[in-house]
Symmetry: C2
Subunit: 384 residues, 2 copies
């Protein structure tokens, strides 16, 4: 199961901030890496970062599973020269997921574009990027790759796996697929499955990308990429990460600082547009459109109830881990009612679960921000 291990030189944009990224080449018994929906990868590299020290008993490992667009750089506290990690207020020295106590591992997910094999990687069989030929992936594949990485690192059983959004679903799936390999899961701003409205938003984002003539059916590498479509997709998704309340408070109907003149009718005129356009622009420069398609598809497909042939309670019976499940009251991407449905299924399955719905104006992104309420729950759960 183990490939060769090395520390990579900085290769991705971001330079110094990526220098702590390691990459492992994984395989399954020497053959190709087989995927849940029938595809396979001849070569699978996983980029990851680690923080803290693995105990001699190898019993203090915590896996952090990231959401759609993040990467292995979960926190930067161990190295002041780095850009801040995406979960720096939750993971780090003295933080709820304490790198003084835990050996924290954060891999970039399969299909992404931040070091782990994805559609922009070279297909060794053809010598060109996979592009639209990248096999379809699932949350189950992410869990399988995480387990293979743990094998490679010599970790049999995690102290915990933790993540938000589809990161939370990865933690859940790990506990469903490999019940013996994780003692605790922290599932934030997530549910057993995405709602129809969530599916719809993902479909719109993909339509925006594949409808961009620069998309070229996914074979745009070496050409101008579909940044217009990807940027618009990100802008829209970003709305679903915030809340009506937080947007009113932060932006309201305030004009942007330098309002465009009469010739600028298509440009941003309100502050909220300016903010979103900037988010979209920056995202489109650093993220791969085919990765966006692949990851949102995996997000669509996921339904934890599949482990119980459609019965979520039956599925939950598989889980051996203790479960912490937190929703946020203004989250409308994975709304509290859907999180609660999962919590109830765990209770009905007779499992040990802590569940709370945390008041927060910050919508789905609340899990990233690490409020004191959320952090207290996470800390107490990991201490207990």
């Amino acid at each position: 199961m183990v490939g060769d291990l090395w520390a990579t030189a900085p290769s991705a944009p971001g330079g110094a901030s990526r220098r702590r990224v390691k990459t492992l080449r994984l395989d399954q018994g020497g053959g190709p890496f087989r995927l849940e929906l029938g595809g396979q990868l001849a070569c699978l590299d996983v980029a990851f970062q680690t923080y803290g020290t693995l105990s001699s008993k190898r019993d203090n490992a915590v896996l952090i599973t990231h959401a759609l667009a993040a990467d292995a750089h979960v926190t930067g506290d161990a190295d002041p020269g780095e850009r801040p990690g995406w979960w720096k207020d939750v993971v780090g020295s003295g933080k709820p997921i304490d790198t003084q106590r835990f050996f924290v591992i954060c891999p970039n997910i399969l299909g992404s574009c931040h070091g782990t094999t994805g559609p922009s990687s070279i297909d060794p069989g053809t010598g060109v990027p996979y592009g639209p030929r990248f096999p379809r992936i699932t949350v189950g594949d992410w869990a399988t790759v995480h387990a293979a990485l743990l094998d490679a690192l010599g970790i049999d059983r995690l102290y915990a796996a933790a993540g938000g959004s589809i990161g939370g679903q990865q933690a859940l799936e790990l506990a469903l697929r490999f019940p013996d390999r994780v003692a605790r899961i922290v599932v934030l701003a997530a549910a057993a499955r995405l709602s129809a409205q969530g599916l719809a938003f993902n479909a719109c984002g993909r339509a925006s990308i594949v409808g961009d003539p620069h998309f070229r059916g996914g074979d745009y590498y070496g050409h101008a990429p579909p940044t217009g479509g990807l940027s618009a997709a990100r802008m829209m998704a970003h709305i679903t990460y915030l809340s009506d309340e937080s947007m009113r408070g932060t932006f309201g109907r305030r004009p942007r600082e330098q309002r465009g003149g009469a010739g600028d009718a298509f440009g941003a005129e309100f502050a909220v547009e300016d903010y979103l356009a900037d988010q979209g622009r920056r995202f489109a420069l650093e993220f791969d459109a085919n990765s966006y398609l692949a990851i949102t598809r995996a997000m669509d497909y996921y339904d934890a109830a599949a482990w119980g042939d459609g019965d979520l309670v039956e599925a939950c019976r598989r889980v051996g881990a203790r479960v912490l499940l937190l929703s946020f009251d203004s989250d409308w991407l994975y709304p509290p009612k859907d999180c609660r449905e999962l919590a109830i299924a765990f209770v009905r399955a007779g499992k040990e679960i802590q569940h709370a719905n945390i008041p927060s104006p910050h919508g789905h992104d609340s899990f990233l921000l690490g409020s004191s309420a959320m952090n207290n729950f996470v800390r107490a759960f990991l201490d207990g």
Copy 2:
């Protein structure tokens, strides 16, 4: 104020269904038509339909003001060969807005592409379509054009003006701008202004259009139009017209009927995607992208409080019309709380207003559907 009046032969796609559309050329005292933000149009044609008979006292006219994508064809009941009008359950013979009793006028709005002058119209000064040179328009301009049309038709004062969404805002604006010209306004699924989240969704739709390389800065006439971007914009907007609840009920996570194979990873796989993609595709075939940009901008700009220098109560004092204001509890584009803010302003201004928040699972689109609760309110208000 009056130009020449004639009945047009069918000129737009739709053939027979458009045959009752009339077109009027309007001007302001023989000169160009001047717009609120400083632009002007040398030539302004307004397409409209009428239903019923104007009374000898000219006191039974009801103006229907349409929302973003609709047209003059509000109902088809008078002619069984026509396609159904967009508000056929609310307007027609024996309907709450009864064409046996009222002379109903429905104009296509300025900037649209269904007969009234818009960006796809030929600029007489250049001989080519306006495209991105079409002047910026406002809800105030729509009200001014409506008033000019009433002048041309010899109608001094409306029995009522009625519309939903930005159609409701047009009715409101008519009562603010021309207090003597309307006796009653019916404002449905609307508010004094759009929220930050609403601005954000409009910005994303526009980003999707202008980010499509086929957009060519708005000068795409004679080339392949930006249908990919426009389709994606419509798909996204369509989500905001529905509700989480209705999407769960109608689609849930059901697969589309003929599920794509492994090679179809970018196509629709869930029923909700199929539905939205079809909506987007059809819309992109019949609507003009520049019109979409112009109309959503007008929607963004509108703030009824401008009539009170930012004080909505002060603005409402201008209104002479009786007001019916209905919101729908699952509408999250113009949410009930924003509609209620407008209702309270009318009350504080000492105006006669009826306001109700109607239970409905159908989101913003509820106003189009004409539930019995809504219809009863409208009927009683117009009878009273």
